[in-house]
Symmetry: C2
Subunit: 234 residues, 2 copies
DNA sequence: GCGAGGTTGTTCTATATTGGAACACGCCGT
DNA sequence: ACGGCGTGTTCCAATATAGAACAACCTCGC
C-alpha cells in the first residue's frame, strides 16, 4: 500500500489543478488569475495552459480568457461508460414510470457524484440533477445507499455516529431515503448497486416532498438495479 | 499568434494522453498497457498515474486495473456550465413538446460534441444522444448548423465541396437537416446558436425517419435558441 | 497623437524534476 | 517449485522545468 504522499509529478499536478480551478470558475479567467490561484509564476501557468489548449481541454476566447474546452466533456463520457450505457435505458424507464427524476450515482473518495440523470415529462415540479453534481456521501439517499455497501471501516472520518443506525436500517430494508438533506423540500429514495470489480453505486429518484409509497418506489428501483447488474455480469 | 508547435509541457501532455487513452479503453488497463500505448517507460507512466489518482481522475481497482475516476465527470460539469444551465430547461421543453430527443452541441476544433441532451417520454423510438458524443462538424444537422456560423476560411480542410452549397442553403433557411448521416435511419433538425464571446453552438433534435414538418420544428428550436441567447446576454 | 497601465508572449539559466534501467516483492497458473 | 507477469522502489544522469527579466501588444485615457 503506497502511502499518500505529495503528488509524484509536480507539473502534471499543477496542470490538473488548473482544470479544477477552471471548472469552479464562473467566468473566463486570465492567465494571471490562474497563476495567482495556483501560486505559481505566470510563466509556468502560461506553458501549462498552452499544453492544455493543445489537447483541447482548455479554450481561449478572443480576449485571451481561459475556459474549459468541450473536449473535457468528451473525456468524461468515457467514465464507466459501460455502466452508463447499461443504466441509461433503465433510468429512463424508471423516470417515466414514476414521473420522477432518476439518476445514477457513484462513490468518489468520500463524495457521491451523479453520473447520468434522466428527467421525466410528467414531473410535478421539474427537478434537475445535473451529471457531475457532488456532495458528501454521508448526505442524501444515494449516499446512504452507497454507505450500505461499505464496511464501516471505510466510512469517511467525519461521519456522524447517528448515521450508523440509519444506514444499518437502510441496509436491512434494501433502500435509503432522505428529505430536505441535499436540497430543501426534496425527497429522495435510493437503492444500492454493487458491481463486480467496480466501486459502489446507487440508483435513485428525487421528487418534491409529498406522500409517496417509498416501498413501492424502492421495489421498482431494485428491479432496475438487478437488470443493470446482470447486464454487466457483476 | 503563437504557432502550434509541440506541446510546451511534455509531462502534462503525457498525463493528458493517459486520460485520453483511458477514455477510449473499454476495460481497465494495466500500467504496462498504458506505458505501451504512450510509448514511455513503465516507471514514468507509474508516476503519472499516481498523480492522476491523487487528484481522483484515475481509479485503481483491487487488481491494479486503471480506469477513469468519477471526478472526471465532476470536472466536465464545469464546461460552459452557464450555457448548460440556461439551455437545459429549454431542451427539456422542446423534447417534451416535440416528442424527440433534443440536445445542445458545440464546436471543438473540427468536431461537433454534444454537451447536454434530454430524452422525451413519448418518443416513437427512444433515441439516446449521450453527452460527450463526438463526430466531425461536416456531418449531421448540428454540424452543418455550426458551419453556418463559421467563415468558410475556418472550415476544416477536409470539408467536401458539395457541403458548401448545403450549408449556404441552411444559412438562408436558418436551420439544417440531415438523415442517415451520423446514424442510419435517423433524421435530425438543427438551428445555429451564436453566443457573444463563445464558440458556435447548435440546438438540435433527432428522431426516427418519418414525415415531419421541418419548418415547424426549426421554428420551435429557433425560439429556444433565442431564449438561451437572451438569457446569456449574447 | 501619445503615453500609462495591464496583459500576453519570449528568452535565459540554475535547479529541481523527470526519464529510464535495474532490482525486490507478491501473485497466479502450469 | 518454478517462471511469467504485474506492481512498487531505488538510483543516477539527462533534461525539462521554474522563475525572472525583458519585449511586444493591446486598450483606455488624456
Amino acid at each position: 500500500m503506497p502511502d499518500a504522499g505529495p503528488p509524484p509529478s509536480q507539473t502534471l499536478s499543477r496542470g490538473i489543478r488548473i482544470l479544477e480551478v477552471l471548472a469552479d470558475a464562473r467566468a473566463p479567467l486570465t492567465i494571471d488569475d490562474v497563476a495567482g490561484l495556483l501560486g505559481v509564476h505566470r510563466s509556468s501557468a502560461y506553458r501549462l495552459l498552452r499544453t492544455l489548449e493543445h489537447h483541447g481541454l482548455v479554450v481561449r476566447d478572443a480576449n485571451g480568457g481561459v475556459t474549459l474546452g468541450a473536449r473535457m466533456a468528451a473525456l468524461a463520457a468515457g467514465v464507466a461508460h459501460d455502466l452508463q450505457a447499461e443504466a441509461l435505458p433503465e433510468l429512463t424507464a424508471v423516470a417515466n414510470e414514476l414521473g420522477m427524476t432518476c439518476f445514477l450515482a457513484v462513490l468518489d473518495h468520500d463524495e457521491c457524484v451523479t453520473l447520468v440523470s434522466v428527467e421525466p415529462r410528467h414531473a410535478v415540479a421539474p427537478v434537475a440533477q445535473r451529471p457531475g453534481t457532488r456532495h458528501p456521501v454521508t448526505v442524501g439517499a444515494p449516499g446512504k445507499a452507497i454507505l450500505t455497501l461499505l464496511p464501516h471501516a471505510q466510512w469517511p472520518a467525519d461521519a456522524p455516529e447517528p448515521l450508523r443506525a440509519t444506514v444499518a436500517e437502510a441496509a436491512q430494508r434494501g433502500f435509503a431515503t432522505s428529505h430536505d438533506e441535499v436540497i430543501p423540500s426534496l425527497e429522495s429514495v435510493a437503492v444500492p448497486l454493487a458491481l463486480r470489480g467496480r466501486g459502489p453505486a446507487a440508483i435513485a429518484v428525487v421528487h418534491v416532498a409529498s406522500p409517496a409509497d417509498h416501498e413501492q418506489i424502492a421495489a421498482r428501483l431494485t428491479a432496475s438495479a438487478s437488470a443493470v447488474r446482470e447486464a454487466l455480469g457483476g
